[in-house]
Every structure is written in C-alpha cells, then in structure tokens.
C-alpha cells in the first residue's frame, strides 16, 4: 500500500470524513481557548466546567432543547456553586471545584441512566466519533465557528484579562464580564468537543495544546497559532492511528496530544528540559574553570 493509499483509504468512508471534520474543528477551538486557560490558571476550571455540562446536556436531550443551552446553563451553575462554596465556607477552592463538578457529573450519569433512549447519551461520556450523524456535524460546525469567531475577535481583551484584570478595569472594561464570557465560551467549547472525544477527555484538549505552545514561544500571538496547529495535527494523526490500529478514536487523539507535549517538554529549543539542563551544566562548567 502506498503512502497516498494509506492516507486516502479512511477518507473513502463518510463516517471517517465526518470524524475527521468534527475532531479537527473541536481540537482547534479547544486549543485556541486553552491558550488563555493555561495562562489564567484555569485548567482545573476547564476540567470542572467540561464535566459539569453533562447534566445540562442530558436535560436538554430529555426536553428536546439544543445541547448548547443546557451546557452553558450548567457551566455557569458549576462556576457559581464553586464560588459560593469557596467564599462562604472554610473549604478551599480546589476542594470546592472537586465537590461541585463531580456531583454535577454524577447527576448527569444518573439522568442518563434513567432516560429511556440511553444509547445516544452514553456516547457523550466517551465520545462516539465514528457514529456521528450529519446533524451532529452541523451542530459542531456551527458552535465551533461561533466560539472560534468570538475568541479571535475579542482575543486582545481576553489576553488583557488574563494578564492584568486591574488594568482592564482601570481603562473602563469590565473584567467580570470578560471572565464570564470566557467561561460561557468554555461551556460551548465543551459541547463541541464532547462530540469528538467525550466528556471525560475534553479537559485534555482544553489544556494540553495551550501548555505545549507555551513551552515553545514567548509571544502570545504565536501561541494562538501554534496551539491549534499542533492540535489539528494530533487530531488527524490520532484518528488515522485509531483507524489502522482499530483503537478508541477519542483516546488516540488525546494520546497524540500527550505525546506532542512530552516531545516539546523535552526538546523545545527555548524552554525544553534538555536545553535548559545543558545550558545549566555548561554554566556550572564555566564557573568551575
């Protein structure tokens, strides 16, 4: 089999075309958002919101409303509850996050288990890339495009919010509103991504690409290009690997991102472990002489 055949064969199936399209879109949107999440220190928040949308999606399914509405509602509910538990008790933030998101996630599992047609909903937990319908594809394209467009249009404000919310306030912007907008987009993105890799693995796509790009550059603008590029490559590599190895597609995509991070962590020319160790050793040698 030639390389071209290896690349083209999976794409001769409609389900693989849809899988590639959805995964690339989800990966790219998640990766763009992840740039801010890792810099603000919201990785745990991404974890929490992406899990907490589950009951919202389940309820939306039950009443026949769009998934996005349920997801955004429960995303905000999770953030509000986390803030309330943190501020009005002696429980610290990480514990508050853990309590709230796991409880909401459990609520989602319970709702799914009592919903008559449960086959569709269990896919939400682990993703069901190869069984995506045409409607799923349209929803992902629509939500993905909207989130992506808002993120890019307001990117400078989000970066200002991440870097110096006090200055944002001082020049008349509303940092709370910007934070809320970012959280809303996080909930929307979770809906997009859970179609691809499932609720459990969304958090990986919301952290790894941004963290990987952060190790590669000192310019935020470049992070915004590097993170989605890396994520898109990982999406394609992961899908092909899953096709030929007959392995879980969502897992493969995230695994590819994990491997990409590991490589960058070790070999990044600027912040990689190998380079920093070598320079440190050289410095010691010079000092000794």
């Amino acid at each position: 089999m030639s390389i071209l055949e290896i690349l083209l064969e999976p794409l001769s199936y409609a389900f693989m075309q849809r899988a590639v399209a959805v995964t690339v879109i989800a990966s790219v949107v998640c990766a763009v958002l992840s740039c801010w999440l890792v810099l603000i220190g919201w990785s745990l928040m991404g974890d929490a919101v992406s899990h907490a949308v589950l009951p919202g999606v389940a309820l939306a399914y039950i009443v026949g409303a769009p998934f996005a509405i349920g997801a955004v509602l429960f995303g905000f509910l999770a953030v509000a509850l986390i803030g309330a538990v943190r501020d009005t008790s002696r429980v610290k933030e990480d514990a508050a996050i853990g309590i709230v998101f796991s409880t909401l996630f459990a609520l989602g599992l319970v709702l799914i288990s009592v919903t008559p047609s449960q086959t569709d909903l269990t896919h939400i937990i682990f993703g069901n890339l190869l069984g995506l319908s045409h409607g799923d594809l349209i929803q992902v394209v629509l939500l993905g495009t909207i989130t992506f467009a808002i993120l890019i249009f307001k990117r400078k404000d989000f970066t200002l919010y991440a870097f110096d919310p006090t200055h944002a306030h001082a020049i008349g912007l509303n940092p709370r509103l910007l934070g809320a907008l970012l959280l809303g987009l996080l909930a929307l993105t979770s809906v997009v991504a859970l179609q691809a890799v499932g609720v459990v693995l969304v958090v990986a796509m919301l952290i790894i690409p941004g963290a990987t790009a952060y190790l590669l550059t000192d310019r935020f603008g470049r992070m915004l290009v590097l993170a989605p590029s890396i994520a898109a490559v990982c999406a394609v590599v992961g899908l092909y690997a899953s096709y030929y190895l007959d392995a879980a597609s969502g897992g493969m995509v995230v695994l590819a991102q994990g491997v990409a991070f590991a490589l960058v962590y070790l070999f990044s020319p600027r912040h990689g472990l190998v380079v920093t160790r070598i320079t440190a050793a050289r410095r010691r040698k010079l000092a000794a002489v």
Partner: protein, 247 residues
Amino acid sequence: MAAAIDVDAVTVHYGFVLALDQATLRLEKGRICGLVGMNGSGKSTLFKAIMGLVKPDAGIVTIAGQAPAEARRTGAVSYVPQSEDVDWQFPLSVQDVVMMGRYGHMGMSRRTRKADKLAVAEALERVELHDYANRQIGQLSGGQKKRTFVARGIAQEATTLLLDEPFAGVDKRSEATISNLLKELAREGATILVSTHDLQALPDLADEAVLLMRRVLLHGTPGDVLQPDNLALAFGLDVMNRSGATL
C-alpha cells in the same frame, strides 16, 4: 476647580475588617504625593477605592470632578502594579504591555492604528526602553519592569497615575530614572500618587506626603510628615496611647 484626586471621608470594610476609616485626601493637578504607612495601613485599599475596584461603605471619590467609572471610561486613570502581582512569565513583550494602555482608545476588536503605534513608540522612548520593545517582560531588570508599566500609563495618556511600591526591588540608578520621569510627567500636568517604603528618597520626589493608618493621620510636605515622631505614630508601637499625646 475640582481637585485632581478627591477622596472624601471614604470608609471601606472587608467583612468585619476595617480597611479605611473616613480617609480624606485632596490632591491638586500636577502634584506628586507619597503615600506612607505600614503594611495593612490601607494603601492598596485606597488605590482600589480611587480606581473603583472596591465600593466604599461611606464617602465619595471623584477624579478631576468625575465619578470613578466616568474617569475610567475616559482613560484618565493608570495603575502601576506591585511586582509580585504581575505574572512575569506571561508571553508578552514590552511593546505588547505598553500597547494595552491604548486599548481604551481603540475599537471593539482593539485593532492597532497608526496613532497607537506612534503613542507606544513615544512612550517607550520616554522611559528609555525603545531598545527593549520586543523583549519578553520577564527578561527585564526590576527598574525596566517598572518603567514598562509607567510607559503603559503614558501611552494611555492618563492624567492620574497610581504607583504601588514602584521602588521595591529597583536599583538606585533606575530609581532615579523613574523619579525624574515622574517629576517630568507631573510638570506636564499629571497627578501622581506613589505608595513607597523608601522614605529617604521621598522629599526629593514628592511635593507632599500622606501618612496613612486606615485613616489619613497627616498630610503635608514630606519634610513635615516624615518627622520621626510622626513616623513612630504611623509605624508605631502603641498608636492608641501616643495619639493623644502627639496630635
């Protein structure tokens, strides 16, 4: 004419903790005022009240006759944060940070126009950082870091500058550079409030000084305010006992 900064009997509580107790401070345009007081004396809270980051339980803040929200919208207020409040690993260059001073002058998507680039270049020139424009902010010395944020205020065309401990972790030469720059800005009409622990340098820098201890204990020339007796009062051992005797 309205004072450039007018803090009128402002009281702020954090829960049950009294952070500011009827603090009153009027500052005229073009003046540099040093804010002196120990940790927890309410310096940061006073800054926050002037910026509208905390809502006073009582009292009123006006900036050049405007309510704080109005002053913020017009870009009148600029804040230079303490070093430990900044993420120096953040992937931004000096130029990126200074450009953030221009955001209030830009449209919704913060697209950079020629006037913005010019303002940033000029601001960098004034703080002598034009050679460092593309450097990541973590790769700067302590003084250069401070100057970056002062440049942001200049690019913003702010008329009120609030600086929180600008001389902490800054070498003497950079301190002099920053001091001269602030004096220059004041001569051009900026009103500057500086919180500082560097009492020796204060008489040279500031036109006036304020001794803060949740309320304004003293407001006068640096020479008067920095009298040992007064400092003992502000940083003092037993304020309750001494306040009757000295004031």
